[in-house]
Amino acid sequence: MKNGNRRRNAAVFLICAAVILLAVTASGILLEEAAVETDFAEKNLPPSNRALFGTDWMGRDMFARTLAGLSLSIRIGVLTAVVSGIAALLLGIAAATLGRKVDAVISWCIDLVMGIPHILLVMLVSIACGRGFAGVVAGVALSHWPSLARVIRGEVIQLRQAPYILTADKLGVSRLKIVRRHMLPHIMPQFLIGMVLLFPHAILHEAGVTFLGFGLSSEQPAIGVILSESMGYLTTGKWWLALFPGAALVLVVLLFSVAGEYIRRLADPASAHE
């Protein structure tokens, strides 16, 4: 690794990460049936070769449940990160280009959303949408755009003074066209990195709010549901119910975080000299 080309290493890592995440997502969808299948002859088994992650008090295979939960988390994470990323892009650009009044309103909204602790806001939105899948997606998507929107706003405000933007303006190019042709391409790398780095937060908050009971319903094998169910069995020594699903979630989130770092390295060649 040490002597290799850093950009190539980054690309190789990114491809590996994408393959792993896709494999987890796909196998989770395939294992959804197995995740809810009960077998009372084989309940409370500690991890062994037969059941890799052990089984729970209903004889459900924890390996299948973990994979299904991860798959659900990844899908929700991708969906919410994309939705709030696009909201951040639109609002950030609007705040920076549509004049001071619009800027004041959007900045005020950003402060407002940032003022309520994330998990509380996700809870509230989830309640407003009647909990369940829609509640989680809406909650996480609505609470994660402000930080990225702020970054984009700052970036565009700086960009407004760039000579080529000023020139385009003086030449009479319409505002919309300036945004589309000149500003969007410039902030695209930053936007993509920011969006990838939203995944970890989105996944963690989804798991958290589900754990609290505001998210996905308890029939679904989500990681938050698995962990909150395991709480009742910890004191009797069934550590595997909590350890493996949580550790697997940490690994998936880590993959996303590191992937974000590598994308930054690829998108910003100057940082490769660090």
């Binding site: 003022g115 994330h118 509380l120 309640i127 009647g130 910890l234 940490v250």
Partner: protein, 330 residues
Amino acid sequence: MRHRLEFTGKKLFRMGVLLLGVSLVTFLLMCASPLDPLQTNVGQTALGSMSPEQVEKLEAYWGVGIPPAQRYIGWLWDVCHGDFGTSLLYRQPVLEVVGERLANSAGLMFFAWVISGVLGLALGVAAGAFRGRWQDRLIRGYCLVITSTPAFWLAILLLLIFSVWLGWLPIGLAVPAGTDASSVTLADRLAHAVLPALTLGITGVANIALHTREKMVDVMESDYVLFARARGESARSAVLRHGLRNVILPGITLQGASVSEIIGGSVLVEQVFSYPGLGQAAVTAGLGSDMPLLLGITVITAAIVFAGNLAADLVYGAVDPRIRKGAAGR
């Protein structure tokens, strides 16, 4: 001095308007909820066996059927008179519930806040100073793993290790179960608070350390550090005299902003340890559609968050001579 007061006044006004916004948004979200408070708390079967008069009484108690605008204005009017309403689940004034819960949580949060601030700053400075070496890699690796770990899972792990496996610490609650309030000692309370506080502290450190490291790297590459080194100052002195001082400034802002994260984390962590704090009350209120309590908790939490940011702004102004002078010139 006058411009400082003016600045504070402006910030306070903005804070007030934001709080009003928070309460309105929270209220609207709760009104939009399709969850019927009667269904969630009384249950379908119990409702079916009740007489229409009883159901009507319950509906009046939970405030079903009053138009939202009227309810919000009524609530706002009462709040202006210092009355946040009565919690429907606890049957106590909201302020009392929040005060009691906040007193339980405050210790946890304060401890976690201080630990994450001091340790985060120290680790961030160390990582920045040893940039690229094994110390930096170790600290960065730790931060990366911790930021990718859900706080509640970390809490479960600590619970498994220290309470179930080693048996050193109690499993949950704030005081030993089944004892008189008078016979609870301070040691009991501390033993129950150690794990939640530790969890919050561990998770809080990572974010602050990572941001501090970025700043520290910038500072160490600056001209003034280069000049200091060229003049013969040791690396140690350059870090302590030039690095640390310049990193403390953004550190203050970070510390003010971390209040929000710690409160958010405490919601999850208190749930794991069944610790009767503010976060647990919020979850109970949310699950039980206890509108006045959840509204009160959200508004008061937001006020604490805004106060944290305001305090950071004020301290920043007092500590940084550039801002002090800059404001005086205006």
